[in-house]
């Protein structure tokens, strides 16, 4: 299973001068890790002989995966984008349980919402590997690769497991007309939070929202020779040259 489009598009949010965030223009959109997560889910399905189903929450267009080779999708349509990652994870966990018969949940390991994937694993009681770049299935186990610096870690996990995927590069895919038409015929099951019986009462309350104190760089402007000398003098004074 691949979970996609589960967070709002932060780049479409506006921070007002009083520090309050205006989310009105921000829809649930494919996250920067979603295309990579879909690729990993397809790789797991291909190597295990299984199939990929999609799960999304909120007001986004649920057909995103259906136009990209996924045959069936589920959507929790009224799940608000919550500051508490544990509640988001609870909605996803309940939906995964409702769908059933899932060996691996693949989800973008979002930097902004870095708690959703691990709490989802905790609620399901499954093993998790995060910041994964690729994964395959063989001999009834999942093999997942994570890279950090010059080191590479290859994990071998018994399913079921949660695989959090971090994109190594931007990999936007645009479906063709044939896939878009096929997507319309593929089944999309819609639920509400109430259908799933999840309590979304806010465990946290907003106390304050403000723009950060800007600690701007000490900026040199002027002629090239002058700014070059000023920059080097500053770096020497810091002891880094």
């Amino acid at each position: 299973m691949v979970i996609y489009k589960w967070a709002r598009d932060a780049s479409a949010a506006m921070v007002r001068t009083d520090g309050v965030v205006d989310w009105r223009g921000a829809k649930m959109t494919p996250g920067e890790d979603d295309p990579a997560a879909l690729a990993v889910a397809k790789s797991l399905a291909q190597t295990s002989g299984g199939e990929v189903v999609g799960l999304t929450i909120g007001d986004g267009d649920a057909s995103w995966v259906l136009a990209r080779g996924v045959v069936q999708a589920f959507s929790v349509t009224d799940a608000a984008d919550l500051p508490d990652n544990a509640t988001t994870a609870a909605i996803l966990a309940r939906a995964v349980g409702r769908i059933g018969d899932v060996d691996a949940v693949v989800i973008g390991d979002s930097k902004q919402e870095s708690g959703v994937a691990p709490v989802l694993a905790g609620l399901l009681g499954w093993t998790a590997v995060l910041a994964v770049v690729s994964a395959t299935a063989s001999d009834g186990r999942l093999s997942a690769i994570r890279r950090s610096g010059s080191e590479q870690e290859t994990f071998s996990v018994a399913p079921p497991a949660v695989i959090g995927v971090a994109a190594e590069s931007e990999m936007a895919t645009v479906p063709g007309m044939k896939e878009l038409l096929a997507a319309r015929k593929r089944p999309l099951t819609q639920w509400t939070v109430a259908d799933l019986g999840v309590d979304v009462a806010e465990a946290v309350t907003v106390r304050d929202s403000q723009k950060p104190d800007v600690t701007s760089a000490r900026v040199f402007e002027g002629g090239s020779a002058q700014v070059a000398a000023q920059l080097l003098a500053a770096l020497r004074a810091e002891g880094v040259l």
Binding site: Q152, A158, G164, S209, A217, F220, A233, V240
Partner: protein
Amino acid sequence: MLAAVRGLGARLTAVVVGPDDLARAVAATGPDELRWVGPGDEVPAEAFAPALAAAAELAHPRVLVSTTDPAARVLLGAACARLGSALIPGMIGLAAEGDEVVVRRSAIGGEVIESYAAGGSIAAVFVGDDVETVTSNAIAATTNDLPAADISVVRGASSVVATGVNDAPRVVAFGRGVKARSDVALIEQLAAALDAEIACSMPIAEDVHWLDKARYIGRSGQHIAPQLYLAVGIAGSPQHMEGVRDAKIVAAINIDPGAPVFRVADYGVVGDLYEVVPAIVEELEHGQPSGGSHE
């Protein structure tokens, strides 16, 4: 991170899953209690998530905090699920206010600082600046022998080419401000004059392939901690800057005075890199070492 939690004034228990030198380093920061799990080479920290979550349930802490490290977050997530805690990512500060715990977090790529109050159990992923807090009250770790879940790991060298970028004291990186491949020579001259390694932003490695992927700095690329990081023609997206969070000094050259990089850099030069870079090379090669007289 421990200092941020210490500020709450409550009992602080640290859990370390990893080598004994890491446990000793954490012990030196003076938590009230340190629980250490030292797994073998082939057992990843993730294997202990269920057992540590069960231990957390017994200890029922009011506040749970982890770093952004992938394995640390798995341990946090398991404990959070078991305790029924709320979880706030992007935490930069904690405070106790009456019966509530207030978590300050950075959101929308650092554009806004939000505070959330929790009346119950709360977990958070810490992204703030770490400070050195070595105390003389180092404590002994309690060794824990815990059952492990069915997961193993093999560690090896990445297939990505090794470079000197990770350990270099000085790194010069460039982005799309460099217009043509032939202009990379200009950056190479600057790096040579500064005795620095050369690096780049994601598009340079991924889109135009002017440098190897191993030299790309950013969230999903290299994370480095040089003394000096000089960003040339790099706008400074949050994804890029995450890779140099631990650099001592960040300097930037960019033609756009509104470039985000100037909000996080220590020093900036607003100017055309095609004029400023040769001037810096000239100054380094022929200028006076005590360039401070120009200020």
